[in-house]
Amino acid sequence: MSEPRIMLTAMAINEAMDIAMGLDDKVFLLGEDIAEPSGGVYKVTNGLSTKYGAQRVRKTPISEQAIIGAAIGAAIAGFRPVAEIMIMDFLAVCLDQVTNHAAKIRYMSGGQTTVPMVIRTSAGAGRGFGAQHSELLEAFAIHSPGMKVAVPSTPADAKGLLLTAIFDDDPVLFVEQMMMYWDKTYAGDVPEGDVRVPFGKAAIRREGADVTLISYGRQMYDCLAAAELLAVDGVSCEVIDLRTLVPWDEQAVMASVAGTSRAVVVHEAVTRCGFGAELSSRIHEELFGQLSAAVQRVGGANTPVPYASNLEAAFVPQVADIVAAVKRTNS
């Protein structure tokens, strides 16, 4: 057994891109400010342009449509571009390229052309960035057939899922939560080398018997914290980390909820029409007769993300909200 390699999330993501570029010269990166000397506004691409050169780590103008369009064309022509959209809210600026083109081109061409590209983007509230730099918009892509979506929660998954995404033949929206990039709280053991994490395989982060908490990304940690608190009260929670939302591990979710008969779905995105709504709906469709309570949703408030720190904190689902939701399934 080798020594654990404890890494921060940003470093794990950087390592995935480094390994992918080393393995395949068709992999290249493009995005705003991603090259040296800055190496990305969050330093996630730090060092890569020095190692691989400006041709393969391409700084772009502030032109999200041009970035995604260029990635699409190059992907059809045989490359594996990794495009960075600096902040997830900026997806709205290039949504036509994402949903009408990246997502649909394989289908519209009858499978003749494919778009093997990754859109990396950072998201999430908690930094006082206000309404246009904080949102989680994974539902945009989930609602666009043809797009795959990954939202890692651990550094090992961030690396392993990104490697899988880069070498996948479909377009992938890869959601990184900026609060996790350089925060030691989220550091973890990352295996060395080209170790990939498959899409569509959830991880059971904690086993339990009474209620299933289903989450992804940073909220997985809140679910674990809630499970700790509830254990004191004698409530045993199973925590499922979906890791990818398209495809998602329906089998693992249904197996767990069939056992516990109770489920709470948790994400940071606005609750209304968030992925939790789909999860909840599917669980009801499959297991209605076996459920002891209606599936509960915990998500962001149905508002834009506010600026003032107290309001911002109130927007983001908290551990207490998850505990309260679990209690509702038991009342």
Binding site: Q65, A66, G69, A70, G73, F79, Y107, G110, Q112
Partner: protein, 335 residues
């Protein structure tokens, strides 16, 4: 006797190849409209009639491995890049034997074997994607050229600005062909565009811009040849504005109230394909009999393609769920 290729004039073979492409487009369009009018077929149809010389003008310069991107009014571009008639007709009719198995339709014709890479239904959206094909050629160190076609209306959408700028910054081997037919959907250019010539906009991006009479096959051939040669030699992108006229409005069934009758009549009277045909004969480049034979052969090929398409089945219902992803089965997760 083979003519020597001169920079200022196409040789005889090129002149005839341009006529062949123009006629292929014109005859296909006439057949589509005839069959639509008579109710034999039903589909959404954007006639390219009047714009034939533009596609023929770049078509004869491109190699099979060059890339073309176009938009929903794209039949002329598909044919100029060599998309085969049978598969093209079958796709327009939504048949399993079409270029895209009937799943894309006329607005999304794709045929990589011919280099027809993307047809988009979104105005202007092909421009940023064309840059990606240009970038691929640049990174691969090949001399492939990408030609992206769009209308005057597309020059007012954001994707045009972002795409043109990036192409200039990265010196991409892309030729931006604005087929200016003077109308964006139902609105004349004068009411939607602040410049008289779209090519003026090239200066804002630091790339050459040129306006050509897109109804003049020789002038168009020359301008396209220069732009394509520049791109192939690593000289970067060019914006070519080819001015023309749309004979049949925005889409089939359009009442065309917004197009002055006299203007349209005059444009149709000066039909560029008919004019070119006369010019070829009058100047001794071809005999009347030779061109008539070419047209007969094209008509027979279209007859064959129409029959092929009409006799082809619609796609299997299971095709609804295929080609969404490369590896994830959608059936069962889609309700």
């Amino acid at each position: 006797m083979a003519d020597v290729q001169r920079p200022d004039a196409p040789d005889r073979d090129t002149l005839l190849r341009m006529f062949e492409i123009q006629s292929r487009i014109k005859l296909c369009d006439e057949r589509f409209r005839m069959m639509l009018m008579s109710g034999q077929i039903q589909l959404i149809y954007y006639s390219p009639r009047g714009q034939e010389c533009i596609s023929a003008g770049w078509g004869v310069h491109l190699r099979p491995d060059d890339y073309v991107v176009t938009i929903y009014r794209g039949l002329h571009d598909h044919l100029a890049k060599g998309v085969p008639l049978r598969e093209l007709w079958a796709e327009f009719l939504g048949r399993a034997t079409g270029t895209c198995k009937g799943k894309g339709g006329p607005m999304h014709i794709t045929h990589p074997a011919s280099g027809l890479m993307v047809t988009t239904g979104i105005v202007g959206a092909g421009i940023p994607i064309a840059n990606g094909f240009g970038l691929a050629a640049q990174l691969n160190g090949t001399d492939q050229v990408t030609v992206v076609n769009f209308g005057d209306g597309a020059s007012n959408i954001g994707a045009f600005h972002e795409g043109m700028n990036l192409a200039a910054v990265w010196k991409l081997p892309v030729v931006f062909v604005c087929q200016n037919n003077l109308y964006g959907e139902h609105t004349p250019m004068s009411m939607s565009t602040g410049v008289d010539y779209i090519s003026e906009r090239a200066a804002a991006y630091g790339m050459p811009g040129v306006t050509v009479d897109g109804n003049d096959p020789i002038a168009t051939w020359k301008v396209m040849g220069e732009a394509i040669a520049r791109a192939r030699a690593g000289g970067g992108p060019t914006l070519v504005e080819a001015r023309t006229y749309r004979f049949f409005g925005h889409l089939m069934g359009d009442a065309m109230e917004y197009m002055p009758k006299e203007e349209r009549k005059a444009a149709m009277a000066a039909d560029p394909v008919v004019r070119y045909r006369v010019w070829l004969v009058d100047n001794g480049h071809a005999s009347e009999a030779q061109l008539a034979e070419m047209e007969e052969q094209l008509t027979a090929a279209i007859d064959d393609a129409v029959e092929f398409a009409l006799n082809s089945p619609q796609p299997e219902l299971s095709e609804l769920y295929t080609d969404v992803f490369g590896d994830v089965a959608m059936e069962g997760t889609t309700r």
